[in-house]
Symmetry: C2
Subunit: 113 residues, 2 copies
């Protein structure tokens, strides 16, 4: 079994709610990069598309048409979401499957509270 990987961007390991304490520079940088992943309409739509699909996983091939962007562009955005820890990537055969990481959205949400 793989070692649990703690991302540098993990808000769980980062910050108390924004409204409670003054963030230090490191905390602020980590949080800012997380929010930056959400600061693009295409990425928000990709995220919500996966969430609303009903399925646990969504194939990368099914993200092209609804996003209205080229394949390299979608791949680029998905990488940003994966790097932010908001979604997980799983390659099986020729296809790549993505699934949400609900705990990360929860963590970000709690930072806002």
């Amino acid at each position: 079994m793989a070692v649990r990987k703690i991302s540098l961007l993990d808000p769980i390991a980062c910050c108390s709610p924004v409204r409670a304490d003054v963030l230090d520079e490191e905390q602020a940088a980590l949080l800012a990069s997380s929010f930056a992943a959400l600061a693009d309409p295409i990425r928000l739509r990709l995220l919500s598309f996966i969430a609303a699909s009903g399925a646990d996983e969504v194939c990368a091939c099914d993200l092209l048409e609804p996003s209205g962007r080229s394949q390299p562009t979608v791949s680029h955005h998905m990488k940003i979401l994966v790097d932010a820890g908001l979604i997980e990537r799983d390659k099986r055969g020729l296809w790549v499957w993505y699934r949400l990481v609900p705990s990360r959205l929860d963590a970000l949400r709690s930072v806002l509270g």
Copy 2:
């Protein structure tokens, strides 16, 4: 009494939770610009500084030193936060006072849920 002003950026008038439905392009653009306001470490620190101050309002003059940025830069960031509806601006005499708009943080947070 003033008419209730619905900002174009108001998530309340915008979006159901990201995880529930696929966002249309307009909703995604509005939300993305809101998150973009949070996607900068200086702005997050300014926000949390005001929140953690204990006071209802904070003078702009007190934001310079803790932010470690120049006066034009801080002014620039505060404008972005105000435009995003996260902060309100009130000029009285020579000074400008800022206060949080808690409902906006709540609204953004609910979008993440």
